[in-house]
Symmetry: C3
Subunit: 139 residues, 3 copies
Amino acid sequence: MKSYRKELWFNVPTRRAFLNITPKVEACLYESGIQEGLVLVNAMHITASVFINDDERGLHQDYDDWLEELAPHEPVGRYRHNRTGEDNADAHMKRQVMGREVVVAITDGSLDFGPWEQIFYGEFDGRRRKRVLVKIIGE
Amino acid sequence: MKSYRKELWFNVPTRRAFLNITPKVEACLYESGIQEGLVLVNAMHITASVFINDDERGLHQDYDDWLEELAPHEPVGRYRHNRTGEDNADAHMKRQVMGREVVVAITDGSLDFGPWEQIFYGEFDGRRRKRVLVKIIGE
Amino acid sequence: MKSYRKELWFNVPTRRAFLNITPKVEACLYESGIQEGLVLVNAMHITASVFINDDERGLHQDYDDWLEELAPHEPVGRYRHNRTGEDNADAHMKRQVMGREVVVAITDGSLDFGPWEQIFYGEFDGRRRKRVLVKIIGE
Protein backbone atom coordinates (compact mmCIF):
# COMPACT_ATOMS: atom_id res chain seq x y z
CA MET A 1 0.00 0.00 0.00
CA LYS A 2 1.26 3.46 -0.90
CA SER A 3 0.21 6.65 0.85
CA TYR A 4 0.56 10.32 -0.03
CA ARG A 5 -0.16 13.51 1.91
CA LYS A 6 -0.30 17.14 0.94
CA GLU A 7 -1.70 20.33 2.45
CA LEU A 8 -3.32 22.91 0.17
CA TRP A 9 -3.30 26.45 1.57
CA PHE A 10 -5.86 29.16 0.87
CA ASN A 11 -6.29 32.77 1.89
CA VAL A 12 -9.74 33.86 0.74
CA PRO A 13 -10.06 37.68 0.81
CA THR A 14 -13.79 37.59 1.60
CA ARG A 15 -15.74 36.01 4.44
CA ARG A 16 -17.33 33.43 2.15
CA ALA A 17 -16.34 31.87 -1.19
CA PHE A 18 -16.34 28.64 -3.17
CA LEU A 19 -13.11 27.62 -4.91
CA ASN A 20 -12.79 24.83 -7.45
CA ILE A 21 -9.81 22.79 -6.21
CA THR A 22 -10.18 19.86 -8.62
CA PRO A 23 -6.99 20.67 -10.58
CA LYS A 24 -4.99 20.83 -7.35
CA VAL A 25 -6.31 17.43 -6.22
CA GLU A 26 -5.55 15.99 -9.66
CA ALA A 27 -1.99 17.33 -9.40
CA CYS A 28 -1.63 15.56 -6.04
CA LEU A 29 -2.90 12.34 -7.53
CA TYR A 30 -0.45 12.58 -10.43
CA GLU A 31 2.41 13.30 -8.02
CA SER A 32 1.44 10.31 -5.85
CA GLY A 33 1.66 7.85 -8.73
CA ILE A 34 -1.26 5.93 -7.20
CA GLN A 35 -3.44 4.12 -9.77
CA GLU A 36 -6.09 2.42 -7.64
CA GLY A 37 -7.35 3.55 -4.26
CA LEU A 38 -9.16 6.31 -2.42
CA VAL A 39 -8.43 9.98 -1.94
CA LEU A 40 -9.70 11.84 1.12
CA VAL A 41 -9.95 15.62 0.77
CA ASN A 42 -10.96 17.43 3.96
CA ALA A 43 -11.04 20.91 5.39
CA MET A 44 -8.56 21.08 8.30
CA HIS A 45 -10.56 23.96 9.78
CA ILE A 46 -13.99 23.73 11.31
CA THR A 47 -15.54 26.76 9.59
CA ALA A 48 -14.86 25.48 6.06
CA SER A 49 -16.08 22.64 3.85
CA VAL A 50 -14.88 20.41 1.08
CA PHE A 51 -17.74 19.23 -1.12
CA ILE A 52 -18.52 18.01 -4.63
CA ASN A 53 -21.01 19.74 -6.84
CA ASP A 54 -21.37 21.77 -10.04
CA ASP A 55 -19.03 24.58 -11.14
CA GLU A 56 -21.82 27.02 -11.98
CA ARG A 57 -21.69 30.57 -10.67
CA GLY A 58 -25.44 31.01 -10.27
CA LEU A 59 -25.65 27.84 -8.21
CA HIS A 60 -22.87 29.06 -5.93
CA GLN A 61 -24.79 32.29 -5.32
CA ASP A 62 -27.88 30.19 -4.60
CA TYR A 63 -25.88 28.13 -2.10
CA ASP A 64 -24.66 31.29 -0.41
CA ASP A 65 -28.20 32.73 -0.13
CA TRP A 66 -29.61 29.42 1.05
CA LEU A 67 -26.96 28.88 3.73
CA GLU A 68 -27.56 32.43 4.96
CA GLU A 69 -31.26 31.56 5.30
CA LEU A 70 -30.51 28.33 7.18
CA ALA A 71 -27.84 29.86 9.46
CA PRO A 72 -27.66 33.67 9.19
CA HIS A 73 -24.41 35.43 10.02
CA GLU A 74 -26.27 38.26 11.75
CA PRO A 75 -27.22 39.19 14.34
CA VAL A 76 -23.98 37.68 15.63
CA GLY A 77 -25.34 37.94 19.18
CA ARG A 78 -27.93 35.25 18.51
CA TYR A 79 -25.25 32.56 18.86
CA ARG A 80 -23.75 31.59 22.23
CA HIS A 81 -20.49 30.67 20.51
CA ASN A 82 -20.00 34.31 19.57
CA ARG A 83 -19.95 35.32 23.23
CA THR A 84 -16.42 33.87 23.29
CA GLY A 85 -15.37 36.84 21.14
CA GLU A 86 -15.87 35.04 17.80
CA ASP A 87 -18.34 36.10 15.13
CA ASN A 88 -18.26 32.85 13.17
CA ALA A 89 -20.87 30.59 14.78
CA ASP A 90 -22.86 30.65 11.54
CA ALA A 91 -19.78 29.34 9.70
CA HIS A 92 -19.70 26.26 11.97
CA MET A 93 -23.29 25.54 10.90
CA LYS A 94 -22.87 26.23 7.21
CA ARG A 95 -19.93 23.86 7.20
CA GLN A 96 -22.07 21.03 8.64
CA VAL A 97 -24.66 21.42 5.87
CA MET A 98 -22.00 21.36 3.14
CA GLY A 99 -19.77 18.76 4.82
CA ARG A 100 -16.17 18.50 6.03
CA GLU A 101 -14.79 16.05 3.51
CA VAL A 102 -15.16 14.02 0.36
CA VAL A 103 -13.81 10.59 -0.45
CA VAL A 104 -13.26 9.95 -4.15
CA ALA A 105 -12.41 6.71 -5.91
CA ILE A 106 -9.18 6.51 -7.91
CA THR A 107 -9.36 4.30 -10.97
CA ASP A 108 -6.60 3.98 -13.55
CA GLY A 109 -4.76 6.91 -11.98
CA SER A 110 -7.70 9.36 -12.30
CA LEU A 111 -10.43 10.76 -10.07
CA ASP A 112 -13.37 8.48 -10.85
CA PHE A 113 -15.99 11.16 -11.45
CA GLY A 114 -19.41 11.50 -13.03
CA PRO A 115 -19.89 14.07 -15.79
CA TRP A 116 -20.24 17.23 -13.67
CA GLU A 117 -18.49 16.38 -10.42
CA GLN A 118 -15.96 18.99 -9.26
CA ILE A 119 -14.35 19.40 -5.82
CA PHE A 120 -14.83 22.71 -4.01
CA TYR A 121 -13.33 24.37 -1.02
CA GLY A 122 -16.17 26.19 0.76
CA GLU A 123 -14.93 29.04 2.91
CA PHE A 124 -17.36 30.46 5.48
CA ASP A 125 -14.95 32.48 7.65
CA GLY A 126 -12.16 33.66 5.40
CA ARG A 127 -9.66 36.51 5.35
CA ARG A 128 -6.93 34.31 6.84
CA ARG A 129 -4.74 31.37 5.83
CA LYS A 130 -6.48 28.01 6.08
CA ARG A 131 -5.71 24.50 4.90
CA VAL A 132 -7.17 21.48 3.13
CA LEU A 133 -5.66 18.01 3.54
CA VAL A 134 -5.28 15.61 0.61
CA LYS A 135 -4.54 12.04 1.69
CA ILE A 136 -4.32 9.24 -0.85
CA ILE A 137 -3.97 5.54 -0.16
CA GLY A 138 -3.75 2.77 -2.71
CA GLU A 139 -1.32 1.20 -5.15
CA MET B 1 -4.43 -4.56 -1.87
CA LYS B 2 -7.37 -5.48 -4.07
CA SER B 3 -9.75 -3.02 -5.67
CA TYR B 4 -13.14 -3.37 -7.30
CA ARG B 5 -15.33 -0.94 -9.23
CA LYS B 6 -18.90 -1.07 -10.46
CA GLU B 7 -21.47 1.41 -11.69
CA LEU B 8 -25.11 0.96 -10.70
CA TRP B 9 -27.60 2.58 -13.09
CA PHE B 10 -31.02 3.96 -12.19
CA ASN B 11 -33.85 5.55 -14.13
CA VAL B 12 -36.32 6.86 -11.58
CA PRO B 13 -39.69 7.67 -13.25
CA THR B 14 -40.48 10.52 -10.81
CA ARG B 15 -38.60 13.69 -9.92
CA ARG B 16 -37.80 12.44 -6.43
CA ALA B 17 -37.49 8.99 -4.85
CA PHE B 18 -35.51 6.96 -2.35
CA LEU B 19 -34.31 3.49 -3.42
CA ASN B 20 -32.81 0.88 -1.10
CA ILE B 21 -29.62 -0.21 -2.88
CA THR B 22 -28.18 -2.33 -0.05
CA PRO B 23 -28.67 -5.67 -1.90
CA LYS B 24 -26.87 -4.27 -4.96
CA VAL B 25 -23.92 -3.10 -2.86
CA GLU B 26 -23.82 -6.48 -1.10
CA ALA B 27 -23.73 -8.20 -4.50
CA CYS B 28 -20.75 -6.02 -5.46
CA LEU B 29 -18.98 -6.91 -2.24
CA TYR B 30 -19.56 -10.63 -2.83
CA GLU B 31 -18.32 -10.31 -6.42
CA SER B 32 -15.19 -8.47 -5.24
CA GLY B 33 -14.16 -11.24 -2.86
CA ILE B 34 -12.81 -8.58 -0.48
CA GLN B 35 -12.99 -9.60 3.21
CA GLU B 36 -11.50 -6.58 5.02
CA GLY B 37 -11.52 -2.99 3.81
CA LEU B 38 -13.73 -0.06 2.94
CA VAL B 39 -16.47 0.44 0.38
CA LEU B 40 -17.23 3.88 -1.02
CA VAL B 41 -20.71 4.31 -2.52
CA ASN B 42 -21.31 7.70 -4.15
CA ALA B 43 -23.75 9.38 -6.46
CA MET B 44 -21.94 10.22 -9.72
CA HIS B 45 -24.45 13.01 -10.34
CA ILE B 46 -24.73 16.25 -8.41
CA THR B 47 -28.50 16.25 -7.94
CA ALA B 48 -28.62 12.89 -6.18
CA SER B 49 -27.45 11.44 -2.87
CA VAL B 50 -26.27 8.21 -1.36
CA PHE B 51 -27.05 8.00 2.34
CA ILE B 52 -27.65 5.52 5.14
CA ASN B 53 -30.83 5.50 7.17
CA ASP B 54 -33.96 3.50 7.91
CA ASP B 55 -36.07 1.66 5.33
CA GLU B 56 -39.38 3.01 6.59
CA ARG B 57 -41.86 4.51 4.15
CA GLY B 58 -43.26 7.13 6.52
CA LEU B 59 -39.77 8.41 7.26
CA HIS B 60 -39.04 8.73 3.55
CA GLN B 61 -42.17 10.83 3.10
CA ASP B 62 -41.07 12.92 6.08
CA TYR B 63 -37.66 13.41 4.45
CA ASP B 64 -39.31 14.48 1.22
CA ASP B 65 -41.56 17.03 2.99
CA TRP B 66 -38.67 18.32 5.10
CA LEU B 67 -36.30 18.76 2.17
CA GLU B 68 -39.06 20.61 0.31
CA GLU B 69 -39.33 22.97 3.29
CA LEU B 70 -35.57 23.52 3.45
CA ALA B 71 -35.12 23.95 -0.32
CA PRO B 72 -38.45 24.20 -2.19
CA HIS B 73 -38.61 23.18 -5.84
CA GLU B 74 -40.95 26.06 -6.66
CA PRO B 75 -41.01 28.81 -7.61
CA VAL B 76 -38.18 27.67 -9.87
CA GLY B 77 -37.41 31.32 -10.66
CA ARG B 78 -36.19 31.96 -7.11
CA TYR B 79 -32.87 30.23 -7.94
CA ARG B 80 -30.21 31.84 -10.13
CA HIS B 81 -29.07 28.41 -11.30
CA ASN B 82 -32.44 27.91 -13.00
CA ARG B 83 -31.81 30.93 -15.26
CA THR B 84 -29.42 28.64 -17.17
CA GLY B 85 -32.51 26.75 -18.40
CA GLU B 86 -32.45 24.16 -15.60
CA ASP B 87 -35.22 23.69 -13.04
CA ASN B 88 -33.18 21.61 -10.59
CA ALA B 89 -31.41 24.11 -8.30
CA ASP B 90 -33.38 22.75 -5.35
CA ALA B 91 -32.04 19.27 -6.13
CA HIS B 92 -28.45 20.55 -5.74
CA MET B 93 -29.39 21.75 -2.24
CA LYS B 94 -31.33 18.69 -1.17
CA ARG B 95 -28.37 16.56 -2.16
CA GLN B 96 -26.04 18.56 0.12
CA VAL B 97 -28.30 17.97 3.12
CA MET B 98 -28.50 14.22 2.47
CA GLY B 99 -24.89 13.84 1.30
CA ARG B 100 -23.04 12.58 -1.79
CA GLU B 101 -21.50 9.42 -0.44
CA VAL B 102 -21.14 6.85 2.29
CA VAL B 103 -18.09 4.90 3.36
CA VAL B 104 -18.86 1.56 4.99
CA ALA B 105 -16.50 -0.81 6.76
CA ILE B 106 -16.11 -4.34 5.41
CA THR B 107 -15.49 -6.98 8.05
CA ASP B 108 -15.38 -10.73 7.36
CA GLY B 109 -16.68 -10.12 3.85
CA SER B 110 -19.84 -8.28 4.97
CA LEU B 111 -21.02 -4.68 5.26
CA ASP B 112 -20.31 -3.88 8.91
CA PHE B 113 -23.68 -2.39 9.79
CA GLY B 114 -25.67 -1.53 12.88
CA PRO B 115 -29.15 -3.05 13.28
CA TRP B 116 -31.14 -0.71 11.00
CA GLU B 117 -28.55 0.69 8.60
CA GLN B 118 -29.53 0.48 4.93
CA ILE B 119 -28.00 2.30 1.94
CA PHE B 120 -30.27 4.50 -0.16
CA TYR B 121 -30.02 6.22 -3.48
CA GLY B 122 -31.75 9.58 -3.09
CA GLU B 123 -32.96 10.97 -6.40
CA PHE B 124 -33.93 14.66 -6.50
CA ASP B 125 -34.04 15.23 -10.28
CA GLY B 126 -35.05 11.96 -11.87
CA ARG B 127 -36.74 10.85 -15.07
CA ARG B 128 -33.40 10.06 -16.71
CA ARG B 129 -30.58 7.52 -16.43
CA LYS B 130 -28.13 8.26 -13.62
CA ARG B 131 -25.34 6.35 -11.91
CA VAL B 132 -23.93 5.37 -8.53
CA LEU B 133 -20.29 4.29 -8.15
CA VAL B 134 -19.29 1.40 -5.89
CA LYS B 135 -15.54 1.29 -5.19
CA ILE B 136 -14.08 -1.27 -2.81
CA ILE B 137 -10.51 -1.48 -1.56
CA GLY B 138 -9.09 -4.04 0.82
CA GLU B 139 -7.93 -7.62 0.95
CA MET C 1 -2.66 -4.06 4.49
CA LYS C 2 -3.68 -4.19 8.15
CA SER C 3 -7.21 -3.66 9.44
CA TYR C 4 -8.63 -2.97 12.87
CA ARG C 5 -12.18 -2.83 14.21
CA LYS C 6 -13.70 -1.70 17.47
CA GLU C 7 -17.15 -0.76 18.73
CA LEU C 8 -17.51 2.13 21.16
CA TRP C 9 -20.65 1.95 23.32
CA PHE C 10 -22.55 4.90 24.75
CA ASN C 11 -25.60 5.31 26.94
CA VAL C 12 -26.49 8.99 26.95
CA PRO C 13 -28.92 9.79 29.81
CA THR C 14 -30.64 12.62 27.88
CA ARG C 15 -32.41 12.66 24.53
CA ARG C 16 -29.69 14.76 22.91
CA ALA C 17 -25.99 15.31 23.65
CA PHE C 18 -22.60 15.80 22.01
CA LEU C 19 -19.68 13.73 23.33
CA ASN C 20 -16.04 14.28 22.43
CA ILE C 21 -14.79 10.81 21.43
CA THR C 22 -11.37 11.86 20.11
CA PRO C 23 -9.41 10.19 22.94
CA LYS C 24 -11.27 6.92 22.37
CA VAL C 25 -10.49 7.00 18.63
CA GLU C 26 -6.84 7.82 19.40
CA ALA C 27 -6.70 4.84 21.75
CA CYS C 28 -8.03 2.61 18.94
CA LEU C 29 -5.39 3.97 16.58
CA TYR C 30 -2.62 3.29 19.09
CA GLU C 31 -3.93 -0.22 19.69
CA SER C 32 -4.05 -0.88 15.94
CA GLY C 33 -0.39 -0.04 15.42
CA ILE C 34 -1.30 1.43 12.02
CA GLN C 35 0.98 4.29 10.93
CA GLU C 36 -0.42 5.28 7.52
CA GLY C 37 -3.98 4.88 6.34
CA LEU C 38 -7.55 5.94 6.94
CA VAL C 39 -9.88 5.63 9.90
CA LEU C 40 -13.64 5.50 9.44
CA VAL C 41 -15.72 6.45 12.49
CA ASN C 42 -19.46 6.03 12.02
CA ALA C 43 -22.62 5.91 14.06
CA MET C 44 -24.08 2.39 13.85
CA HIS C 45 -27.53 3.81 14.63
CA ILE C 46 -29.62 5.98 12.36
CA THR C 47 -30.63 8.60 14.92
CA ALA C 48 -27.06 9.55 15.83
CA SER C 49 -24.12 11.25 14.13
CA VAL C 50 -20.36 11.26 14.14
CA PHE C 51 -18.94 14.61 13.09
CA ILE C 52 -15.87 16.81 13.45
CA ASN C 53 -16.05 20.31 14.84
CA ASP C 54 -15.02 22.46 17.79
CA ASP C 55 -15.14 21.40 21.45
CA GLU C 56 -16.87 24.57 22.65
CA ARG C 57 -19.92 24.34 24.89
CA GLY C 58 -21.65 27.44 23.53
CA LEU C 59 -21.35 26.14 19.99
CA HIS C 60 -22.89 22.81 21.01
CA GLN C 61 -25.86 24.65 22.51
CA ASP C 62 -26.11 26.64 19.27
CA TYR C 63 -26.10 23.40 17.29
CA ASP C 64 -28.85 22.00 19.47
CA ASP C 65 -31.03 25.12 19.08
CA TRP C 66 -30.39 25.27 15.35
CA LEU C 67 -31.18 21.59 14.74
CA GLU C 68 -34.39 22.04 16.73
CA GLU C 69 -35.32 24.92 14.39
CA LEU C 70 -34.54 22.87 11.27
CA ALA C 71 -36.28 19.70 12.49
CA PRO C 72 -38.30 20.24 15.69
CA HIS C 73 -38.94 17.31 17.99
CA GLU C 74 -42.49 18.48 18.70
CA PRO C 75 -45.24 18.17 17.85
CA VAL C 76 -44.27 14.54 17.34
CA GLY C 77 -47.49 14.00 15.36
CA ARG C 78 -46.22 16.16 12.50
CA TYR C 79 -44.02 13.27 11.29
CA ARG C 80 -45.44 10.20 9.55
CA HIS C 81 -42.59 8.09 10.94
CA ASN C 82 -43.92 8.68 14.44
CA ARG C 83 -47.21 6.99 13.56
CA THR C 84 -45.26 3.71 13.80
CA GLY C 85 -45.12 4.29 17.57
CA GLU C 86 -41.74 6.09 17.50
CA ASP C 87 -41.18 9.69 18.59
CA ASN C 88 -37.77 10.09 16.97
CA ALA C 89 -38.44 11.22 13.38
CA ASP C 90 -36.71 14.52 14.14
CA ALA C 91 -33.60 12.58 15.21
CA HIS C 92 -33.41 10.94 11.76
CA MET C 93 -33.33 14.43 10.23
CA LYS C 94 -30.89 15.99 12.67
CA ARG C 95 -28.53 13.12 11.98
CA GLN C 96 -28.60 13.82 8.23
CA VAL C 97 -27.60 17.47 8.78
CA MET C 98 -24.71 16.51 11.07
CA GLY C 99 -23.70 13.38 9.13
CA ARG C 100 -23.27 9.66 9.83
CA GLU C 101 -19.52 9.34 9.60
CA VAL C 102 -16.10 10.89 9.32
CA VAL C 103 -13.04 9.61 7.52
CA VAL C 104 -9.76 10.86 8.97
CA ALA C 105 -6.25 10.50 7.57
CA ILE C 106 -3.64 8.67 9.64
CA THR C 107 -0.11 10.00 9.25
CA ASP C 108 2.88 8.82 11.31
CA GLY C 109 0.53 6.93 13.62
CA SER C 110 -1.61 9.96 14.52
CA LEU C 111 -4.95 11.44 13.50
CA ASP C 112 -3.96 14.01 10.87
CA PHE C 113 -5.96 16.94 12.23
CA GLY C 114 -6.09 20.70 11.83
CA PRO C 115 -5.72 22.85 14.96
CA TRP C 116 -9.27 22.58 16.33
CA GLU C 117 -10.61 19.36 14.86
CA GLN C 118 -12.22 17.02 17.39
CA ILE C 119 -14.50 14.03 16.77
CA PHE C 120 -17.96 14.04 18.34
CA TYR C 121 -20.69 11.53 18.85
CA GLY C 122 -23.97 13.37 18.32
CA GLU C 123 -26.87 11.69 20.06
CA PHE C 124 -30.39 12.73 19.01
CA ASP C 125 -32.43 9.89 20.57
CA GLY C 126 -30.57 8.75 23.66
CA ARG C 127 -31.46 7.07 26.93
CA ARG C 128 -30.38 3.66 25.62
CA ARG C 129 -27.19 1.84 24.64
CA LYS C 130 -25.92 2.71 21.18
CA ARG C 131 -22.70 2.12 19.27
CA VAL C 132 -20.06 3.79 17.12
CA LEU C 133 -17.83 1.75 14.80
CA VAL C 134 -14.11 2.51 14.42
CA LYS C 135 -12.54 0.81 11.41
CA ILE C 136 -8.93 1.45 10.46
CA ILE C 137 -7.13 0.27 7.36
CA GLY C 138 -3.52 0.91 6.45
CA GLU C 139 -0.01 -0.21 7.30
